[in-house]
Symmetry: C2
Subunit: 211 residues, 2 copies
């Protein structure tokens, strides 16, 4: 009596790499898990965490809901697991040898992320969600924020060691200056941005650091 008279022969995950799967651990080996992860991020960008429906994730992934519940116990655990996985491997703060080069590289990395459509929607959404979901905030802070903030702090410390910045540099304010203005422009007010914007911003930031 179901409405689908001809349930097609169930296209069987064509090639399955030998990836193991862990309940709760970061997993993205087999094709089903990869499809679920991709669908998760697309749905997260489209609907936001608050409205994210695992039903929609499963449908978009071409998977059953059971395939999701077999891997994660809740939306929160799934989010922390998947977001942390992609956030940690996307941390490549190059050491260019000069403060200006490091700052420019750092800003380019941030700008690149915030210009891609999925992160541009997901990041502000998770930040907002963290304000009302302490468990999510704590998990993402320790896996994402602290990691990236430490990377940026290293950048500053290298400049201090080189003598490019004063030893009594206010690290806290400098970190805010590094990310804040660019995040504000790209993710909050969405102002159009000139090609040499990062260059000009870099000059201003270095002047602020040295003040």
């Amino acid at each position: 009596m179901p409405s689908t008279p001809a349930p097609q022969p169930s296209p069987p995950a064509p090639d399955r790499p030998p990836g193991r799967r862990l309940p709760g651990g970061p997993v993205l080996q087999d094709s089903v898990t990869a499809a679920i992860a991709a669908a998760f991020f697309e749905e997260l960008a489209a609907a936001g965490y608050a409205r994210l429906s695992l039903e929609a994730v499963a449908k978009r992934a071409g998977a059953g809901k059971a395939a999701i519940y077999r891997r994660w116990t809740s939306k929160l655990e799934m989010t922390v697991d998947l977001v942390s996985a992609v956030a940690v491997d996307a941390s490549g703060t190059a050491d260019t040898g000069t403060l200006r080069g490091d700052v420019l590289a750092f800003l380019s990395e941030v700008a690149d992320a915030l210009c891609r459509p999925l992160p541009a929607r997901i990041i502000p959404d998770l930040i907002a969600e963290g304000g009302r979901n302490p468990e999510l905030a704590a998990a993402l802070f320790s896996t994402v924020r602290d990691t990236r903030r430490a990377k940026a702090a290293e950048l500053l410390e290298r400049a201090v060691d080189r003598g490019e910045l004063p030893a009594d540099l206010d690290r806290g304010i400098a970190l805010d200056l590094l990310v804040g203005p660019l995040y504000w422009r790209l993710a909050v007010v969405h102002t159009p941005t000139a090609p040499d914007h990062l260059d000009r911003l870099t000059d201003k930031l270095i002047a602020a650091f040295r003040a």
Copy 2:
């Protein structure tokens, strides 16, 4: 047959100021509308726009859903109306006569807003929601963002006129520098903040403006 055997005598809006009510226009005169508006912001802070339920707003306001639908046609219209109303009257950029005084006053105003619990949750949420709701974004941009950005631009222009900043100041970057670092710290990474933070930040910002 209703479950409430004694529908209490319906406490009748004790004093009703002669406020008019407009469908779609900014309204907050009579006590029912004020109660709905207050409940709306509390629910918005607690649940976020995406999960905001008008049923919950009505219940929290001690009102019927019909009282809401009689005033606004949709959640979006209600949000734009109420948020714009409180956002425009909260724009008091004082003219202190010096760049440093103006910047400090501006930062204090931002910090004050972002430290109160309701705006601290609502603002990031609406920003994230704007990323996936173009209609909401367009409305809030024109009523809130542009207004406040113009106020900040006046602050900078006064400093240029006074000769405190160069005439070729990059206004766009300066506006990002004004708000970005403080927003980043207070609303995104939630770093603890020293009492003299705004003073120190002001010095850095002015140095950046002049670079």
